[in-house]
Symmetry: C2
Subunit: 337 residues, 2 copies
DNA sequence: GCAAGCATGGCAACTGTCCGAGAAATTATC
DNA sequence: GATAATTTCTCGGACAGTTGCCATGCTTGC
């Protein structure tokens, strides 16, 4: 690999001059600059980013820690982040936590070792300020942008979230406005912040409508199609009298819908089902799914803006982007029975 | 940020000793090691990867260049790569080419500047050995694993592909076995290697069946739902007498199916449609789609194995993983008419 | 008693780049 | 023609860690 010194030796100048020439600093003559640049191009010189980072005390890299890369919801965020980083000439190192706190901690620690200038993090659990790894991030003054799930506990942590509570509430209100009163809630993993928020929206809307929460209507459904199917079977076995289901995400909603359709239940005539997330499949499902669209690309853009503010030394901030209820054909008026 | 030297100063030993102690080298006493490790943990010491890379002439990083992060097909590959890299304690830098050759080149150049130890690349165009950027990769002896679309033109390039030609041929053969003779082919972007391969499979099967290619049955359909719809409309306008459609991917198939269903055409009674890729939506579409499953996760695993072989100085290789035709309900016997 | 061996730890050098300071060469001014 | 001002270039050092070799001080063997 060609170094500055190699170019310098061949031209009979110092490495310093080459460095300055390539960076177009003013105190190098035009003649030398062109000579240097020409030879550099000819030799295929590529500066060594590690050496530059060491010297500059800045790596021009970001770290990104998300639960999973195959979740299409995150894919859009990552896409936006990568595009912005590319424009800046910065790089992004990816890391998956696979929904495990120990792995998340491990990922963060390795990113710190890489001396990334900032970390984008979608945490597995609701962030606890006292967890050792967050404590360490705070101590190291590392800028962190949390994707969703508020955690503004120190001045180098910002937060960019989609308003899932409001959107979930709007979904429940939509079902209420169709006359439903017995609305089952298929909730996600109890530890997951996003699942908690979606349940919170349901809870608020029911409370506002004066309907007490009914344990019999609440099902643990995880986050996959299979888990949605299992919860639906449970509901059938218990002859739960719900006229609508609000699911924690589209996959669970589809799993549930598959099960009910297989039993001859008609959707939405006999049963309304709403999802969350607006994945592609929800639009092209047998019964196009009522769901919530989250502005994930915009969340990525906003996250990068927020990160740059932190890097500029500006105070931390909390951005909340509106999510939007999309009413399709899987929800309808309550059956007269 | 804590350095080796800081720990050394506090303990009254040299930085060398600390370095050796933390790496568990044999020539440091157990007593010193425990003392050093304890203080390091207490101070939250994190080694500087940039400095280490500079000295070691190895960054323990891979680069990954793919067209788009939101394509679920790539997501599985990336997931597998990240998991394996994590096990090795290596990092992955992501870069999107967004299907543009200039951007791809730019991404590769930046990865070279980062001195990644290897690059995983899913090229935009069929690789031409003489393109300057590939020439440069070859000259720098950078190990490259091409994801799909064979390009074994130098000893540091390996290739891991899914056998799309065979799978596409199997799809056409499936349609032929159902009695179809007028099989329309909705082909993808003409420059894209994957689109070329899928068309090639169709071509081979038709040729083997003794059916000459008919230009009237071949439609440029791009790679999106909208393009699939447009191609279907074109087919309707031209009253093309096809009894089946083989689409370049699932999205195009779904776009086409949507259009025909809206016109009252019944699938598969009046028209068979096959996709490619087995995205989630294809399984849960109104008419579950006949398509091809590509072993993308396994492709990622195989790619990492191949990369390690290259790093170990072993010769380059070509791995081809079988793709599998999945017959669902969107294809059926040719209508009797 | 002397050489050899061993365990432990330190010094200098090196990785590639860039900053600050100053030297050398060129040009401008009187 | 001498000095001052400016341009152009070089030198030493720093960044944080690792490698190879050497310097201890101690034990062992003959």
């Amino acid at each position: 690999m060609i170094r500055l010194k190699d170019i310098a030796l061949r031209l009979g100048v110092s490495a310093m001059t080459v460095s300055k020439a390539l960076r177009d600093e003013p105190d190098v003559s035009v003649a030398t600059k062109t000579k240097v640049k020409k030879l550099a191009a000819q030799l295929g010189y590529v500066p060594n980013a590690a050496a530059r980072s060491l010297r500059a005390k800045s790596t021009c890299m970001f770290g990104l820690v998300i639960p999973s890369l195959i979740n299409p919801i995150f894919a859009r965020v990552v896409m936006a982040l990568e595009e912005r980083a590319h424009e800046m000439g910065w790089e992004i190192i990816i890391a998956q936590s696979l929904n495990r706190a120990d792995r998340e901690e491990n990922c963060i620690r390795r990113l710190l070792s890489r001396r990334v200038n900032g970390i984008f993090l979608s945490p597995v659990y609701r962030i606890e300020a006292h967890a050792p790894i967050y404590e360490e991030l705070r101590r190291q003054q590392t800028p962190v942008v949390i994707l969703g799930h508020r955690a503004l506990f120190c001045e180098r942590f910002s937060n960019v979230e989609t308003d899932d509570i409001a959107a979930s509430r709007a979904t429940t209100q939509h079902l209420l406005s169709l006359g439903h009163r017995k609305i089952a809630c298929f909730i996600g993993p109890p530890f997951a912040p996003w699942a908690q928020e979606r349940f919170e929206g349901y809870r608020q809307a029911m409370s506002e409508a004066g309907i007490p929460l009914d344990d019999q209507l609440i099902f643990q459904a995880g986050s996959t199609i299979e888990e949605g199917q299992a919860a639906a079977l449970e509901m059938i076995n218990e002859s739960t009298p719900a006229t609508a289901i609000q699911a924690t995400n589209d996959l669970v909603a589809i799993g549930a819908a598959n099960t009910f359709l297989a039993q001859g239940v008609q959707i939405p005539r006999d049963l309304s089902i709403a999802g969350f997330g607006n994945i592609l499949t929800s639009e092209h499902y047998r019964i196009p799914l009522t769901t919530v669209r989250q502005p994930k690309y915009r969340q990525g853009i906003a996250a990068m803006e927020t990160m740059q503010n932190l890097l500029d030394g500006k105070p931390n901030e909390l951005k909340r982007l509106p999510s939007e209820l999309i009413i399709r054909q899987s929800t309808g008026p309550v059956p007269r029975s």
